[in-house]
Symmetry: C2
Subunit: 238 residues, 2 copies
Protein backbone atom coordinates (compact mmCIF):
# COMPACT_ATOMS: atom_id res chain seq x y z
CA UNK A 1 0.00 0.00 0.00
CA UNK A 2 2.63 2.51 1.04
CA UNK A 3 4.79 1.79 -2.03
CA UNK A 4 1.83 2.39 -4.35
CA UNK A 5 0.91 5.71 -2.81
CA UNK A 6 1.90 8.93 -4.60
CA UNK A 7 4.85 10.82 -3.14
CA UNK A 8 3.76 13.03 -0.26
CA UNK A 9 3.68 16.80 -0.70
CA UNK A 10 6.62 18.71 0.80
CA UNK A 11 6.32 18.45 4.54
CA UNK A 12 6.01 21.62 6.60
CA UNK A 13 8.72 20.10 8.79
CA UNK A 14 11.16 20.46 5.89
CA UNK A 15 10.86 24.26 6.03
CA UNK A 16 13.54 25.73 8.30
CA UNK A 17 11.95 26.72 11.59
CA UNK A 18 13.92 29.85 12.17
CA UNK A 19 13.25 32.48 9.56
CA UNK A 20 14.68 35.73 10.78
CA UNK A 21 13.62 38.93 9.05
CA UNK A 22 16.61 40.65 7.45
CA UNK A 23 15.72 43.96 8.98
CA UNK A 24 16.28 42.72 12.53
CA UNK A 25 19.21 40.32 12.60
CA UNK A 26 19.50 38.68 16.01
CA UNK A 27 22.77 39.47 17.70
CA UNK A 28 22.80 36.37 19.86
CA UNK A 29 20.51 33.58 18.81
CA UNK A 30 20.25 30.69 21.23
CA UNK A 31 18.49 27.51 20.21
CA UNK A 32 16.43 25.79 22.88
CA UNK A 33 14.88 22.36 22.87
CA UNK A 34 12.66 20.48 25.29
CA UNK A 35 12.81 16.71 25.01
CA UNK A 36 11.87 13.75 27.18
CA UNK A 37 14.49 12.83 29.75
CA UNK A 38 16.02 9.36 29.76
CA UNK A 39 18.20 7.37 32.11
CA UNK A 40 21.23 8.87 30.33
CA UNK A 41 20.27 12.31 31.68
CA UNK A 42 20.48 11.17 35.31
CA UNK A 43 23.95 12.61 36.07
CA UNK A 44 22.84 16.09 34.86
CA UNK A 45 19.47 15.74 36.54
CA UNK A 46 21.09 14.89 39.84
CA UNK A 47 23.22 18.04 39.66
CA UNK A 48 20.20 20.16 38.72
CA UNK A 49 18.18 18.87 41.68
CA UNK A 50 21.10 19.53 44.01
CA UNK A 51 21.35 23.10 42.71
CA UNK A 52 17.63 23.49 43.30
CA UNK A 53 17.99 22.27 46.90
CA UNK A 54 20.83 24.74 47.41
CA UNK A 55 18.76 27.57 45.91
CA UNK A 56 15.85 26.72 48.22
CA UNK A 57 18.21 26.30 51.20
CA UNK A 58 16.91 22.79 51.69
CA UNK A 59 20.07 20.73 51.22
CA UNK A 60 19.35 19.11 54.60
CA UNK A 61 16.36 17.44 52.91
CA UNK A 62 18.41 16.32 49.91
CA UNK A 63 19.30 12.64 49.85
CA UNK A 64 18.93 11.71 46.16
CA UNK A 65 21.78 9.85 44.50
CA UNK A 66 22.28 9.16 40.81
CA UNK A 67 21.48 5.52 41.49
CA UNK A 68 18.26 6.24 43.41
CA UNK A 69 17.08 8.68 40.72
CA UNK A 70 17.76 6.16 37.97
CA UNK A 71 16.04 3.37 39.88
CA UNK A 72 12.89 5.34 40.66
CA UNK A 73 12.50 7.49 37.53
CA UNK A 74 13.64 5.04 34.86
CA UNK A 75 13.14 1.56 36.30
CA UNK A 76 14.59 -1.21 34.18
CA UNK A 77 13.92 -3.21 32.15
CA UNK A 78 10.88 -1.26 30.99
CA UNK A 79 10.23 2.22 32.37
CA UNK A 80 6.54 3.19 32.13
CA UNK A 81 5.55 5.15 29.02
CA UNK A 82 6.00 8.92 29.38
CA UNK A 83 3.08 10.83 30.91
CA UNK A 84 1.69 7.70 32.62
CA UNK A 85 4.05 8.10 35.59
CA UNK A 86 6.93 10.35 36.68
CA UNK A 87 8.03 12.24 33.59
CA UNK A 88 11.02 14.52 33.02
CA UNK A 89 11.39 17.17 30.35
CA UNK A 90 14.99 18.27 29.79
CA UNK A 91 15.65 21.80 28.54
CA UNK A 92 18.76 22.05 26.37
CA UNK A 93 20.34 25.06 24.71
CA UNK A 94 22.81 25.23 21.87
CA UNK A 95 24.56 27.93 19.82
CA UNK A 96 23.63 25.90 16.73
CA UNK A 97 20.24 24.70 15.51
CA UNK A 98 19.30 21.24 16.72
CA UNK A 99 19.40 18.52 14.09
CA UNK A 100 16.03 16.97 13.22
CA UNK A 101 15.13 14.28 15.73
CA UNK A 102 13.57 10.98 14.74
CA UNK A 103 9.98 10.51 15.82
CA UNK A 104 10.01 9.37 19.42
CA UNK A 105 8.21 6.06 20.00
CA UNK A 106 6.10 7.85 22.62
CA UNK A 107 4.82 10.23 19.94
CA UNK A 108 6.22 13.21 21.77
CA UNK A 109 8.00 15.56 19.39
CA UNK A 110 10.68 17.73 20.99
CA UNK A 111 9.73 21.39 21.25
CA UNK A 112 12.07 23.85 19.57
CA UNK A 113 12.33 27.58 20.11
CA UNK A 114 14.91 30.17 19.13
CA UNK A 115 15.69 32.91 21.62
CA UNK A 116 17.20 36.17 20.38
CA UNK A 117 19.21 37.65 23.21
CA UNK A 118 20.74 41.11 23.56
CA UNK A 119 23.80 39.66 25.23
CA UNK A 120 25.36 36.21 25.08
CA UNK A 121 24.86 34.06 28.14
CA UNK A 122 27.97 33.42 30.17
CA UNK A 123 27.66 29.96 31.59
CA UNK A 124 30.61 29.15 33.83
CA UNK A 125 29.26 25.63 34.41
CA UNK A 126 28.86 24.82 30.73
CA UNK A 127 31.28 21.91 30.88
CA UNK A 128 29.62 20.35 33.92
CA UNK A 129 26.18 20.54 32.31
CA UNK A 130 27.11 19.41 28.82
CA UNK A 131 24.20 17.37 27.50
CA UNK A 132 24.55 13.65 27.16
CA UNK A 133 23.79 14.10 23.45
CA UNK A 134 27.20 15.78 23.03
CA UNK A 135 28.36 18.73 20.94
CA UNK A 136 27.90 22.24 22.30
CA UNK A 137 24.53 21.34 23.75
CA UNK A 138 24.12 22.30 27.41
CA UNK A 139 21.38 21.31 29.86
CA UNK A 140 19.77 24.50 31.18
CA UNK A 141 16.84 23.18 33.21
CA UNK A 142 14.17 20.57 33.72
CA UNK A 143 10.62 20.00 34.82
CA UNK A 144 9.40 16.87 36.58
CA UNK A 145 5.69 16.09 36.57
CA UNK A 146 3.30 13.16 36.84
CA UNK A 147 -0.40 12.39 36.50
CA UNK A 148 -2.80 13.39 39.24
CA UNK A 149 -6.56 12.90 39.27
CA UNK A 150 -9.71 14.92 39.89
CA UNK A 151 -12.65 12.83 41.09
CA UNK A 152 -15.05 15.74 40.44
CA UNK A 153 -13.98 15.95 36.79
CA UNK A 154 -13.26 12.20 36.50
CA UNK A 155 -10.19 13.25 34.58
CA UNK A 156 -6.46 12.96 35.04
CA UNK A 157 -4.31 16.05 35.19
CA UNK A 158 -0.62 16.76 35.71
CA UNK A 159 1.10 17.77 38.91
CA UNK A 160 4.35 19.69 38.49
CA UNK A 161 6.67 18.68 41.29
CA UNK A 162 9.69 20.70 40.21
CA UNK A 163 10.57 23.23 37.57
CA UNK A 164 14.11 24.54 37.58
CA UNK A 165 16.19 26.74 35.29
CA UNK A 166 19.90 27.21 35.95
CA UNK A 167 20.94 30.69 37.10
CA UNK A 168 22.52 32.05 33.87
CA UNK A 169 19.33 31.21 31.94
CA UNK A 170 16.78 32.82 34.25
CA UNK A 171 14.41 35.66 33.39
CA UNK A 172 14.65 35.00 29.67
CA UNK A 173 11.53 32.92 29.08
CA UNK A 174 12.98 29.42 29.58
CA UNK A 175 10.85 28.77 32.66
CA UNK A 176 7.76 29.80 30.75
CA UNK A 177 8.80 27.47 27.92
CA UNK A 178 9.06 24.52 30.32
CA UNK A 179 5.79 25.36 32.05
CA UNK A 180 4.02 25.81 28.73
CA UNK A 181 5.30 22.45 27.49
CA UNK A 182 3.59 20.67 30.41
CA UNK A 183 0.35 22.64 30.11
CA UNK A 184 0.24 22.08 26.35
CA UNK A 185 0.78 18.36 26.81
CA UNK A 186 -2.05 18.23 29.39
CA UNK A 187 -4.37 20.15 27.08
CA UNK A 188 -3.53 17.93 24.11
CA UNK A 189 -4.29 14.83 26.15
CA UNK A 190 -7.66 16.26 27.20
CA UNK A 191 -6.60 16.40 30.83
CA UNK A 192 -8.58 18.44 33.35
CA UNK A 193 -5.97 20.50 35.15
CA UNK A 194 -2.36 21.24 35.95
CA UNK A 195 -1.39 21.87 39.56
CA UNK A 196 1.71 22.80 41.51
CA UNK A 197 2.63 24.69 44.66
CA UNK A 198 4.26 28.05 45.21
CA UNK A 199 5.60 29.74 48.35
CA UNK A 200 3.15 32.41 49.51
CA UNK A 201 5.88 35.07 49.83
CA UNK A 202 7.01 34.54 46.23
CA UNK A 203 4.96 37.41 44.85
CA UNK A 204 6.74 37.50 41.50
CA UNK A 205 6.05 33.81 40.86
CA UNK A 206 2.40 34.15 41.90
CA UNK A 207 1.96 37.10 39.56
CA UNK A 208 3.60 35.15 36.73
CA UNK A 209 1.30 32.16 37.29
CA UNK A 210 -1.81 34.32 37.50
CA UNK A 211 -0.89 36.00 34.24
CA UNK A 212 -0.78 32.55 32.67
CA UNK A 213 -4.35 31.94 33.82
CA UNK A 214 -3.70 29.96 37.00
CA UNK A 215 -5.78 30.35 40.15
CA UNK A 216 -4.06 30.35 43.53
CA UNK A 217 -6.07 28.47 46.19
CA UNK A 218 -5.82 30.78 49.21
CA UNK A 219 -7.25 28.47 51.89
CA UNK A 220 -5.71 25.11 51.11
CA UNK A 221 -2.77 23.84 53.12
CA UNK A 222 -0.49 21.00 52.12
CA UNK A 223 -0.09 18.26 54.74
CA UNK A 224 2.84 15.90 54.72
CA UNK A 225 3.58 12.70 56.59
CA UNK A 226 7.21 11.68 56.19
CA UNK A 227 10.28 10.24 57.90
CA UNK A 228 9.87 8.36 61.17
CA UNK A 229 6.21 9.41 61.49
CA UNK A 230 5.46 7.64 58.21
CA UNK A 231 7.61 4.61 58.90
CA UNK A 232 5.75 4.02 62.15
CA UNK A 233 2.67 3.18 60.06
CA UNK A 234 4.39 0.15 58.53
CA UNK A 235 4.11 -1.67 61.84
CA UNK A 236 0.84 -0.19 63.00
CA UNK A 237 -1.99 -2.51 63.86
CA UNK A 238 -4.83 -0.90 61.96
CA UNK B 1 9.94 -29.85 47.43
CA UNK B 2 6.71 -28.58 48.87
CA UNK B 3 5.16 -32.05 49.09
CA UNK B 4 8.17 -33.35 51.06
CA UNK B 5 8.07 -30.53 53.59
CA UNK B 6 6.55 -31.16 57.03
CA UNK B 7 3.05 -29.81 57.58
CA UNK B 8 3.17 -26.15 58.51
CA UNK B 9 2.33 -25.07 62.06
CA UNK B 10 -1.17 -23.69 62.57
CA UNK B 11 -1.31 -20.36 60.80
CA UNK B 12 -2.03 -17.23 62.84
CA UNK B 13 -4.58 -16.45 60.17
CA UNK B 14 -6.62 -19.44 61.31
CA UNK B 15 -7.19 -17.85 64.71
CA UNK B 16 -10.43 -15.82 64.71
CA UNK B 17 -9.55 -12.14 64.51
CA UNK B 18 -12.16 -10.91 66.92
CA UNK B 19 -11.63 -12.20 70.41
CA UNK B 20 -13.84 -10.21 72.70
CA UNK B 21 -13.25 -10.46 76.45
CA UNK B 22 -16.31 -11.95 78.18
CA UNK B 23 -16.37 -9.16 80.71
CA UNK B 24 -17.15 -6.51 78.07
CA UNK B 25 -19.49 -7.96 75.49
CA UNK B 26 -19.89 -5.55 72.59
CA UNK B 27 -23.43 -4.41 72.18
CA UNK B 28 -23.12 -3.54 68.52
CA UNK B 29 -20.22 -5.03 66.66
CA UNK B 30 -19.70 -3.74 63.13
CA UNK B 31 -17.26 -5.44 60.82
CA UNK B 32 -15.26 -3.18 58.52
CA UNK B 33 -13.09 -4.06 55.58
CA UNK B 34 -10.86 -2.05 53.25
CA UNK B 35 -10.25 -3.62 49.86
CA UNK B 36 -9.06 -2.46 46.46
CA UNK B 37 -11.77 -0.91 44.33
CA UNK B 38 -12.58 -2.37 40.92
CA UNK B 39 -14.64 -1.31 37.95
CA UNK B 40 -17.65 -2.99 39.59
CA UNK B 41 -17.55 -0.39 42.37
CA UNK B 42 -17.99 2.51 39.96
CA UNK B 43 -21.75 3.04 40.56
CA UNK B 44 -21.19 3.34 44.34
CA UNK B 45 -18.05 5.40 43.86
CA UNK B 46 -19.90 7.84 41.63
CA UNK B 47 -22.55 8.35 44.31
CA UNK B 48 -19.89 8.78 47.01
CA UNK B 49 -18.06 11.44 44.99
CA UNK B 50 -21.32 13.27 44.37
CA UNK B 51 -22.08 13.24 48.09
CA UNK B 52 -18.61 14.62 48.72
CA UNK B 53 -19.19 17.45 46.23
CA UNK B 54 -22.49 18.22 47.95
CA UNK B 55 -20.82 18.21 51.39
CA UNK B 56 -18.14 20.58 50.13
CA UNK B 57 -20.73 22.75 48.34
CA UNK B 58 -18.85 22.24 45.10
CA UNK B 59 -21.47 20.50 42.95
CA UNK B 60 -20.88 23.21 40.33
CA UNK B 61 -17.45 21.63 39.80
CA UNK B 62 -18.84 18.10 39.61
CA UNK B 63 -19.01 16.62 36.12
CA UNK B 64 -18.01 12.98 36.68
CA UNK B 65 -20.21 10.27 35.20
CA UNK B 66 -20.08 6.55 35.85
CA UNK B 67 -18.70 6.10 32.35
CA UNK B 68 -15.95 8.71 32.74
CA UNK B 69 -14.92 7.30 36.12
CA UNK B 70 -14.75 3.78 34.73
CA UNK B 71 -12.79 4.91 31.68
CA UNK B 72 -10.20 6.91 33.64
CA UNK B 73 -9.82 4.82 36.81
CA UNK B 74 -10.12 1.33 35.39
CA UNK B 75 -9.14 1.55 31.73
CA UNK B 76 -9.77 -1.63 29.77
CA UNK B 77 -8.48 -4.05 28.76
CA UNK B 78 -5.74 -3.88 31.40
CA UNK B 79 -5.94 -1.30 34.18
CA UNK B 80 -2.51 -0.48 35.63
CA UNK B 81 -1.51 -2.49 38.71
CA UNK B 82 -2.72 -0.97 41.99
CA UNK B 83 -0.46 1.66 43.56
CA UNK B 84 1.29 2.43 40.24
CA UNK B 85 -1.46 4.85 39.20
CA UNK B 86 -4.84 6.07 40.49
CA UNK B 87 -5.86 3.65 43.23
CA UNK B 88 -9.13 3.35 45.13
CA UNK B 89 -9.66 1.71 48.51
CA UNK B 90 -13.30 0.89 49.25
CA UNK B 91 -14.47 0.82 52.87
CA UNK B 92 -17.26 -1.68 53.49
CA UNK B 93 -19.15 -2.49 56.67
CA UNK B 94 -21.23 -5.49 57.52
CA UNK B 95 -23.18 -6.80 60.54
CA UNK B 96 -21.50 -10.16 59.93
CA UNK B 97 -17.83 -11.06 59.73
CA UNK B 98 -16.39 -10.94 56.23
CA UNK B 99 -15.62 -14.31 54.69
CA UNK B 100 -11.94 -15.00 54.03
CA UNK B 101 -10.86 -13.45 50.76
CA UNK B 102 -8.59 -15.18 48.29
CA UNK B 103 -5.15 -13.65 47.92
CA UNK B 104 -5.42 -10.73 45.54
CA UNK B 105 -3.10 -11.00 42.53
CA UNK B 106 -1.73 -7.58 43.48
CA UNK B 107 -0.58 -8.99 46.83
CA UNK B 108 -2.77 -6.54 48.72
CA UNK B 109 -4.63 -8.26 51.52
CA UNK B 110 -7.88 -6.57 52.57
CA UNK B 111 -7.68 -4.89 55.97
CA UNK B 112 -10.22 -6.05 58.54
CA UNK B 113 -11.25 -4.33 61.74
CA UNK B 114 -14.13 -4.82 64.14
CA UNK B 115 -15.74 -1.75 65.64
CA UNK B 116 -17.68 -2.05 68.90
CA UNK B 117 -20.29 0.67 68.94
CA UNK B 118 -22.48 1.88 71.77
CA UNK B 119 -25.40 2.33 69.41
CA UNK B 120 -26.25 0.72 66.10
CA UNK B 121 -25.73 2.90 63.07
CA UNK B 122 -28.90 3.97 61.32
CA UNK B 123 -28.11 4.14 57.65
CA UNK B 124 -31.10 5.35 55.68
CA UNK B 125 -29.19 4.95 52.41
CA UNK B 126 -28.18 1.36 53.08
CA UNK B 127 -30.00 0.06 50.02
CA UNK B 128 -28.46 2.62 47.69
CA UNK B 129 -24.95 1.87 48.93
CA UNK B 130 -25.19 -1.91 49.05
CA UNK B 131 -21.80 -3.27 48.04
CA UNK B 132 -21.37 -4.93 44.70
CA UNK B 133 -20.24 -8.04 46.59
CA UNK B 134 -23.83 -8.49 47.83
CA UNK B 135 -25.27 -9.64 51.15
CA UNK B 136 -25.66 -7.09 53.96
CA UNK B 137 -22.40 -5.43 53.02
CA UNK B 138 -22.65 -1.66 52.62
CA UNK B 139 -20.12 0.79 51.18
CA UNK B 140 -19.31 3.41 53.83
CA UNK B 141 -16.49 5.38 52.26
CA UNK B 142 -13.45 5.45 50.03
CA UNK B 143 -10.04 6.93 49.58
CA UNK B 144 -8.47 7.72 46.21
CA UNK B 145 -4.72 8.15 45.98
CA UNK B 146 -1.88 7.86 43.50
CA UNK B 147 1.92 7.99 43.40
CA UNK B 148 3.72 11.30 43.63
CA UNK B 149 7.47 11.88 43.67
CA UNK B 150 10.07 13.73 45.69
CA UNK B 151 13.17 14.70 43.71
CA UNK B 152 15.03 15.55 46.93
CA UNK B 153 14.42 12.07 48.32
CA UNK B 154 14.48 10.38 44.88
CA UNK B 155 11.55 8.36 46.17
CA UNK B 156 7.91 7.98 45.25
CA UNK B 157 5.20 8.77 47.76
CA UNK B 158 1.42 8.78 47.76
CA UNK B 159 -0.87 11.74 47.27
CA UNK B 160 -4.34 11.40 48.76
CA UNK B 161 -6.77 13.19 46.48
CA UNK B 162 -9.96 12.32 48.35
CA UNK B 163 -10.96 10.60 51.54
CA UNK B 164 -14.65 10.38 52.26
CA UNK B 165 -16.81 8.62 54.87
CA UNK B 166 -20.59 8.70 54.56
CA UNK B 167 -22.38 10.74 57.19
CA UNK B 168 -23.79 7.94 59.43
CA UNK B 169 -20.29 6.46 59.79
CA UNK B 170 -18.42 9.63 60.76
CA UNK B 171 -16.52 10.25 64.01
CA UNK B 172 -16.16 6.56 64.72
CA UNK B 173 -12.65 5.88 63.44
CA UNK B 174 -13.46 4.88 59.86
CA UNK B 175 -11.67 7.90 58.40
CA UNK B 176 -8.61 7.08 60.46
CA UNK B 177 -8.80 3.48 59.23
CA UNK B 178 -8.79 4.63 55.57
CA UNK B 179 -6.00 7.12 56.16
CA UNK B 180 -3.93 4.56 58.03
CA UNK B 181 -4.36 2.03 55.22
CA UNK B 182 -2.75 4.43 52.74
CA UNK B 183 0.07 5.45 55.09
CA UNK B 184 0.76 1.82 55.97
CA UNK B 185 0.91 0.88 52.29
CA UNK B 186 3.35 3.75 51.61
CA UNK B 187 5.52 2.72 54.54
CA UNK B 188 5.52 -0.93 53.47
CA UNK B 189 6.60 0.03 49.97
CA UNK B 190 9.48 2.12 51.34
CA UNK B 191 7.94 5.32 49.99
CA UNK B 192 9.16 8.70 51.17
CA UNK B 193 5.99 10.56 52.08
CA UNK B 194 2.22 10.86 52.01
CA UNK B 195 0.69 14.22 51.12
CA UNK B 196 -2.76 15.73 50.87
CA UNK B 197 -4.42 19.12 51.32
CA UNK B 198 -6.72 20.46 54.01
CA UNK B 199 -8.75 23.67 54.22
CA UNK B 200 -7.05 26.11 56.57
CA UNK B 201 -10.24 26.78 58.55
CA UNK B 202 -10.79 23.08 59.22
CA UNK B 203 -9.16 23.18 62.66
CA UNK B 204 -10.46 19.78 63.72
CA UNK B 205 -9.02 18.08 60.67
CA UNK B 206 -5.66 19.85 61.08
CA UNK B 207 -5.49 18.78 64.72
CA UNK B 208 -6.34 15.19 63.74
CA UNK B 209 -3.60 15.12 61.09
CA UNK B 210 -1.01 16.65 63.41
CA UNK B 211 -1.79 14.04 66.04
CA UNK B 212 -1.04 11.40 63.42
CA UNK B 213 2.41 12.93 62.90
CA UNK B 214 1.74 15.07 59.82
CA UNK B 215 3.26 18.49 59.30
CA UNK B 216 1.16 21.29 57.81
CA UNK B 217 3.13 23.46 55.38
CA UNK B 218 2.05 26.98 56.36
CA UNK B 219 3.53 28.94 53.44
CA UNK B 220 2.76 26.77 50.43
CA UNK B 221 -0.11 27.63 48.14
CA UNK B 222 -1.67 25.32 45.59
CA UNK B 223 -1.87 26.72 42.05
CA UNK B 224 -4.28 25.34 39.50
CA UNK B 225 -4.63 25.82 35.78
CA UNK B 226 -7.91 24.42 34.51
CA UNK B 227 -10.86 24.93 32.16
CA UNK B 228 -10.51 27.38 29.28
CA UNK B 229 -7.21 28.72 30.61
CA UNK B 230 -5.71 25.24 30.28
CA UNK B 231 -7.32 24.43 26.96
CA UNK B 232 -5.82 27.57 25.47
CA UNK B 233 -2.40 25.95 25.85
CA UNK B 234 -3.30 23.18 23.39
CA UNK B 235 -3.13 25.67 20.55
CA UNK B 236 -0.38 27.86 21.91
CA UNK B 237 2.69 28.41 19.83
CA UNK B 238 5.41 27.73 22.37
Amino acid sequence: MAAAAPPPPPSPAAIPETIVPETAPPRHPLFARIRLGTIFDVPQLHKLIHQMATYERLTDQFSATEASLAFTLFPSPSPPPPFTSFTVFILEVSPDPFPPTPQDPSNFSPILKTFHLDLPIEDSEKDIFRSEIGGDVVVAGFVLFFPNYSTFLAKPGFYIEDLFVREPYRKKGFGRMLFTAVAAQAAKMGYGRVEWVVLDWNVNAIQFYEQMGAKIQPDWRVCRLTGDALEAFAHLNI
